[in-house]
Amino acid sequence: MLGAAVIVFREVIEAGLIIGIVLAVTRTVPRRGLWVSAGVLVASLGAALLALFAGRIADAFAGSGQELLNAAVLGIAVVMLMWHSLWMAKHGQELAASMAQLGRAVSSGRRPLTALAVVVGLAVLREGSELVLFLYGIVAAGTSASSLLLGSVLGLAAGAAFTALTYYGLLAIPTRYIFSVTSVLIALLAAGMAAQAVQYLDAAGLITVLGERLWDSSGLLPQDSIVGRLLHTLIGYNDRPTELQLITYAMTLLVMVALNWIATPSRPPRRAPA
């Protein structure tokens, strides 16, 4: 039972972390709950469908369908985060400038919400399809299914609690810092996702260059531990990154910072929000 709880929890927290951050980023946006729930719901259905066709997807593209799908999902999420960053950098100052303008600015630009709903959806899609397959395995196995199922429910509940913790933790940050904090979080999130997409393309056999592992910090902090997984999702921690992954990580981070910088209109002379 505990084993099932741990497996489910590990899958849920990765998506949960992203949901918590997105909820914090959009805390002042009206109807954001609707958008985020829509993203989660649609993606949950999508995850079930993905699981149903797992065999066929895996067989596609000479047996690399799964990796390519994951890489594509991550790639789209990165683009959505960049789009969001660009929009926020453009409108963030207006938003902060006057609470009165807030409603207007957001209703005139629903775009970042669409983008973030897609990011949430993609996160759920990725982790969810694995979860569905695992649960299917439990049900199909029959024996002791009820105790495993109970474990899964516990894992899911713990994951949801963790999402709430992320959200309220971020809300505890004073309002004047939260914009900078979430900008940095989103930039790191995107960089980590881009680096992971590279890993999938490598696993698919599409990328065969710069595949040397740069270091091995698995003795210090294994990536499959809970903390390792959290850091992996949050800042893209990798205990054995390849050269190309590190380059991709740095480049994405650079692009995110540049987008923030370029898009901010008539910035007073001060340091960039890194």
Binding site: A58, S64, Q66, F134, Y136, D202, G205, S218
Partner: protein
């Protein structure tokens, strides 16, 4: 356009797998057979994993950076390397207590 892209990816994958040395593994009763395989170090290898169980399994290895779901009664190919000499453990995440194996690169 999509078909053209798919074609391109297909070609790229075929040339990629042509360069990789091939190995195979079987999952039966939530166990890997063989539980240990030797592969050459410093080369890309493709390991075909045939899941003969009715339930899906996830071939996972943090050491190899592989996470791959293999549906019941189906096959999947895992590509790894180039690896430094050493032992790289892998598990079937959905049945981690029985499904254990190790890849030995030498």
């Amino acid at each position: 356009m999509i078909r053209l892209l798919a074609f391109g990816i297909g070609i790229a994958l075929c040339t990629a797998s042509a360069n990789a040395q091939e190995f195979s593994l079987v999952i039966r009763d939530h166990r890997f057979e063989p539980a240990e395989i030797k592969i050459p170090a410093g080369k890309r290898v493709a390991i075909t994993v045939a899941n003969e169980d009715a339930t899906p399994e996830e071939f996972e290895s943090s050491a190899l950076k592989v996470e791959k779901v293999i549906a019941g009664k189906s096959k999947a190919t895992v590509r790894v390397g180039p690896l430094k000499p050493g032992r790289y453990e892998f598990i079937g995440e959905y049945h981690a207590d029985t499904a254990k194996g190790v890849l030995v690169a030498e």
